[in-house]
């Protein structure tokens, strides 16, 4: 045991501690985040068959769309449609298949169960913010899928279109994905929060998926829409979920429009996040979590 003396400090030491203490606190937080992430990651590894089946499913959806587009190109007789050649369309839908992993994150379903069954209690006994836990859990759940499904499909897509990716483009792509996913998370969180009032949110989430699919460019590359519609869509953060990152990687949009799109998304995210966090702080007072 340490005696009273060795616990006191000189003024200089105190000054240093004053600097170190916040850093230590940050480090402690990182350890907590790492633990939450790791536990989700380990949990997801138990679903090996799920990972394999998911790979097959995603490739087959991409193949299905590719068949459709091959027929469209053949019947039109053109070499390129709206500036996209057939190999690029192939690549586009492979990339959609890879990116749709992010859509499959189940933040809203977790929230629905947490609120409806009262399992939120087991998250709230931990000294970590609930929202942080949700983010880390969904990232931990997705991680293995990204490594074993997302990246291979992405590489297949790039090989199909014979695209070589510069480090700058890759970096931009990653940045866009992060932005798009922040938006996606806030949106899904908002839907999950609705469970406090509606209990079931399946219907709501399917509407959201349909909207994201249509406006985000998962169903059809956005440059196939009439320009008036495009103008409106590009004022929303939706393209950041599929279209903008994919087009950036394939080199079919300019750096300038990619940057514009990122700014638009940022301008949406900040007030949207503030609003949702305000709503959450009000709404969580209404969680009843009966039974248990």
């Amino acid at each position: 045991m340490c005696s009273q003396n060795c616990l006191s400090h000189t003024t200089g030491e105190k000054q240093i501690r004053k600097w170190i203490e916040p850093m230590r606190t940050q480090f402690r937080k990182l350890e907590e985040y790492y633990a939450v992430f790791l536990a989700s990651l380990k949990s997801s590894m138990h679903y090996k068959t799920d990972i394999a089946l998911s790979l097959i499913f995603r490739i087959s959806t991409a193949l299905l769309l590719i068949f459709v587009w091959t027929v469209i190109f053949a019947s039109s007789g053109a070499n390129s449609l709206n500036g996209l050649t057939l190999p690029f369309v192939y690549a586009y839908f492979f990339l959609v298949a890879a990116m749709s992993l992010f859509i499959s994150s189940e933040v809203h379903i977790t929230m629905q169960d947490d609120i409806r069954e009262g399992t939120i209690a087991s998250s709230l006994v931990r000294p970590v913010n609930y929202i942080t836990q949700l983010v880390l859990n969904s990232f931990g759940d997705m991680f293995i899928f990204i490594i074993f499904i997302g990246i291979p499909i992405l590489i297949i897509g790039l090989l199909l279109a014979h695209v070589s990716v510069s480090p700058t483009t890759a970096l931009l792509f990653v940045g866009e994905i992060i932005l798009g996913n922040i938006f996606l998370f806030i949106l899904m969180f908002l839907i999950g929060m609705a469970a406090i009032y509606f209990t079931h949110i399946w219907g709501l989430s399917w509407v959201a998926y349909a909207v994201i699919g249509l406006l985000g460019g998962a169903v059809l590359p956005l440059n196939f829409y009439p320009s008036a519609v495009q103008n409106i869509i590009f004022l929303t953060p939706m393209p950041m979920v599929f279209y903008t990152p994919i087009s950036t990687l394939l080199g079919t949009i300019s750096m300038q429009s990619a940057a514009n799109s990122m700014i638009v998304t940022l301008l949406w995210i900040i007030p949207f996040a503030a609003l949702v966090s305000y709503l959450w702080n009000r709404a969580r007072k209404n969680i009843t979590s009966a039974g248990g």
Partner: protein, 339 residues
Amino acid sequence: MRQIGVVMQDNVVIQVDNVNKRFKTYETKGRGIVASLFRKQYFKKALTNVSFSVKGGELAALLGRNGSGKSTMIKILMGILFPDSGRARVLGMDPWKDRIKLASQIGVVLGAHSQLYWNLPAIDTFEFMRHIHHIPESMFRKRLKYFVKALNLEKVYKRQARQLSLGEQMKCNFVASVLHAPRIVFLDEPTIGVDLPSKLALRKVILEMQSQGTTFVLTTHIVEDIMIAQRVIILDKGRKMFDGKREELEKLFGDKRHVDIFFTPGSRINFSRFGRILNSENGFVRLEIEKEGIKSKKFMELLGNDDILDYKITDPGMNYVLSKLFKSYDRRKANKEMD
């Protein structure tokens, strides 16, 4: 161990003042398919003006029937539920505002919601807790060794949690929730599905932790579980009915004894002279008498009577006191509604 919370006056660690909480619920009118579309919304009062305090190192039981509001109370103290009115303080902190800070000072065992990661062995959840509560490695090993031995978990904690029996899960859940040596431990129905040897082991661990200064608040509807508590708070329909020492509760209706008497059928002994008749059949009677009455001459003579074939004197115990308490409460309430 870092001590964040302020120690309140008189070593009070939990202070609850006039807490109210009501829930919105729905009731379906009628029974048909169409009727299920029309629900009537109404408010159910889960807690009405509940006040109590718990001192550091106490082992307090929150007892009540199903739906009495005891889990709601615990959830308010954990910072999961927000009270409509009133004030709750745990270690000097507002549980709702300081939930994260408080979470490292308290441990919560929820019988209905396990802390364990289902896909992982319990040891992985323990490791998770080590990181999340920043338990020093050596301390972690020491505590884990103790719990594994005390709760007989050697063959359990390395298996996937979903494959464990209910009782094994509960024991692992307990360990996961107290590894960080919290100052207060909340136990919400911790003995669901736990077999007797495990229950006794858990009890021993709880008492050992208490002797080292840990405060326990236990909710349960199982009377046996409160026998380790020194303090009992009874909630019913959201109101506090009783708050005091367990011995006081046991003697709430006086110190009574139950006497089962078997006698020759047809004999004409007037038993009501000796005490209250609780139960009577041909050749059998159960009397309730004051403890002192047992040694009275009058009673001795009764037992010596030739018609008495056999007798048994028992302490009616907690179960009896509680059923009587709840019955009297229900009766009072029924009378009130009649007026």
